[in-house]
Amino acid sequence: MSDLSNDQPPHGHTPKGRKLSAMLDRALEHVMAVIEWPFSLLQRVIGLRRMPYVFVLPNMILFGVFVFVPVLLAIAYAFTGGTNLLIWERPFVGFDNFARLLNCGSFLDPASCELDLFWTAVFNTGWYTVFNSAGTLVVALITALVLQRLTRGKTFFRAVFFYPVLLSPVVVALIWKWFLARNGLLNAVFADLMGERVIFMLEVLWSRFWVVYVSIWFHMGFYTLIILAGLQAIPRDIYEAALIDGTSRWRQFWRLTLPLLMPNLLVVLVLLLIRSVQAFDEVWVLSDGGGPGTANTFIVQFIYETAFATDVRLYGLASAASVLMGLGLLLLTLFQLWLAKKVET
């Protein structure tokens, strides 16, 4: 670290602040000296060429223990039964868990299935995915186009639209729960216009609408930024050429912007689909655990509750549902790769 006493004090830095940062520097120096010692010793023993393995090792151990091992275990768990968490004490049941999940009179009617809650969750997640992905894509695209147009205030509005993305799911759910509450602001307006209050989160259609609305509100800014980056990558001279040719703006959008933006939009769409399928946090808190009834119960909630939130913890069944969902997500990812290739050619 540089010798701070010889530097010109940076503007606005008090001598006290400088002293503090010099102290921190020295403390860090000591800590690193302690860490450095075993590393240099190791280097002397195993040689320079093996050092990169030492550097990646801590990360790879954590990845292995918390990601790669669980992936293998997830598949193993799906083929076992019982309620014991320890895998070696669980009986092998073959495809029983999958058979139970897929045991349906008709796949279009969740009520005809052995595990009707799972299929209700699949259908709820499906509809949510469709509306949330489409809604977010449209809103984010319009917002990105609007922001791209701005000459002044762009940074400010970009920040405004992005801000909700950084909030926690619980915070977002609580803010909206309060907004939609019986005594909430929206009901004050509603009571004024319609003469009566609506308890939004207790009515099936209203609650589904608000779940999608809040999801769009929450995540839209993230996708706006990605689309905006795509828009900024479109060379401007293309538009100048179009302007000289007298192309109308409507045509410009459909013939130039949209095709050039397509690869970007596809990435956004697939990201949206993948994330929508896994929706849980804010929906679960906002809808008080998937309510009313099971109107907003999604797949991840089914997995979580089957494995962790009941007295009889069916880890095998939950894992089987996870594996099915994982396969669905894998298909979506492969679909994206295929699409990306197709768009490129």
């Binding site: 790879m60 091992v69 669980p70 997830a74 959008f253 979580y304």
Partner: protein
């Protein structure tokens, strides 16, 4: 919609696309700001105010008068005079339709009036005890401490371990480096929800269930972090490293003294993301942590709002506390965050 892409505009003239642009911007800002603003305003309202309908816009509370000769402040009422006009009085007691009041100007004499002539007076009032009560009476201080601990420790470990891996993957050629990189990247696609059951078993196997370290260790190795740092380190010239080796610096010294300081911008972006991830994390802590004394702020908030009698005045105050650090970070580092997201495509 059709004309959003105009690049050239006549100066000083607003056409329809300009109007639509500003309508969208202002409407969007309102849609985003109103629910948040409403929660913040409500968080300083007293309980009685929170539960009343229709809601008042600004936080108000019953006005009270301190009158000589009375131990406690009296609730203030406005008394309609028979000849028109009104004056401020303190309510001493009320029995049925008759109320006993006292005029602050003449504290000695009480008089009786019909209760219907009285209207309750309120004044602007911020109920700060909504913030202090939960921190003292409930376990929110513990939740806050746990959240700060997890966020700080996990972020420091993430920066250290991810940068070490990124250093190896960007500055060395070694057998298996590509395999390792692809393995790390493949976990980007792997959501927690698919592996949460066996991941929890691993936590139990390591005896880390219901332990803050269980939350920390399992999230330290991030594919995003390794990827982001590696891409940045690739731009650092190798000559610097060669020169250091000639000076007999150890590999760790090179990492610590050359690579890390030069990667500061990328490290800063990762640090910001890491803090936000950990502070906001919900599902994984929900699975790992089971006893309330180990809850993070998010879990505590969720548990508190799920109770039978919902105490919104406390919940909203704690919601604001949970939203504050992220907001402050965003206010100061807004540029780095939006640019980091745009360039890496992660959040």
């Amino acid at each position: 919609m059709t004309r959003f892409l105009t690049r050239t505009r006549a100066k000083g003239r607003m056409d329809i696309t300009d109007i639509l642009t500003w309508v969208w911007l202002i409407l969007g800002t309102a849609v985003i700001a109103i629910p948040i603003g409403w929660a913040i305003l409500s968080s300083v309202k007293p309980e009685a105010e929170i539960n009343s309908f229709p809601p008042t816009f600004l936080p108000r509370a019953a006005q009270e008068l301190v009158i000589e000769g009375y131990d406690k402040p009296l609730p203030a009422y406005s008394l309609d005079e028979e000849g028109g006009g009104a004056r401020l009085v303190g309510l001493v007691r009320r029995i049925g339709l008759v109320a006993t009041v006292v005029d602050p100007a003449a504290p000695g004499e009480r008089f009786k009036v019909e209760a219907e002539r009285l209207t309750k007076q309120t004044e602007l009032h911020a109920q700060w005890s909504n913030y202090t009560d939960p921190l003292e009476r409930f376990a929110f201080m513990t939740y806050l401490r746990n959240s700060v601990f997890v966020t700080a420790v996990a972020t420091i470990m993430t920066l250290l371990l991810n940068s070490m891996a990124a250093f190896a993957l960007s500055k060395y050629r070694f057998r298996g480096s590509n395999t390792i990189f692809v393995l790390i990247l493949s976990t980007l696609m792997l959501p927690l929800s698919v592996i949460m059951v066996p991941a929890f078993m691993v936590i139990v196997g390591l005896n880390l269930a219901d332990n803050l370290w269980g939350v920390i260790f399992s999230t330290v190795a991030t594919p995003t972090g390794v990827f982001l740092l590696r891409q940045y380190m690739l731009t650092i010239p190798d000559d610097l490293i060669e020169a250091a080796r000639v000076d007999a610096a150890s590999e760790f010294r090179i990492y610590w003294r050359i690579i890390l300081p030069l990667s500061a911008p990328a490290l800063a972006v990762l640090a910001i993301f890491s803090v936000i991830w950990r502070w906001n994390d919900f599902l994984w802590p929900l699975i790992v942590l089971s006893s309330p004394e180990n809850y993070t702020l998010q879990l505590g908030l969720n548990a508190f709002q799920g109770q039978f009698t919902v105490q919104w005045h406390y919940i909203l105050a704690m919601t604001v506390v949970a939203l504050l650090p992220v907001t402050v970070i965003f206010l100061f580092l807004q540029k780095y965050i939006t640019e980091g997201v745009a360039s890496t495509g992660v959040k």
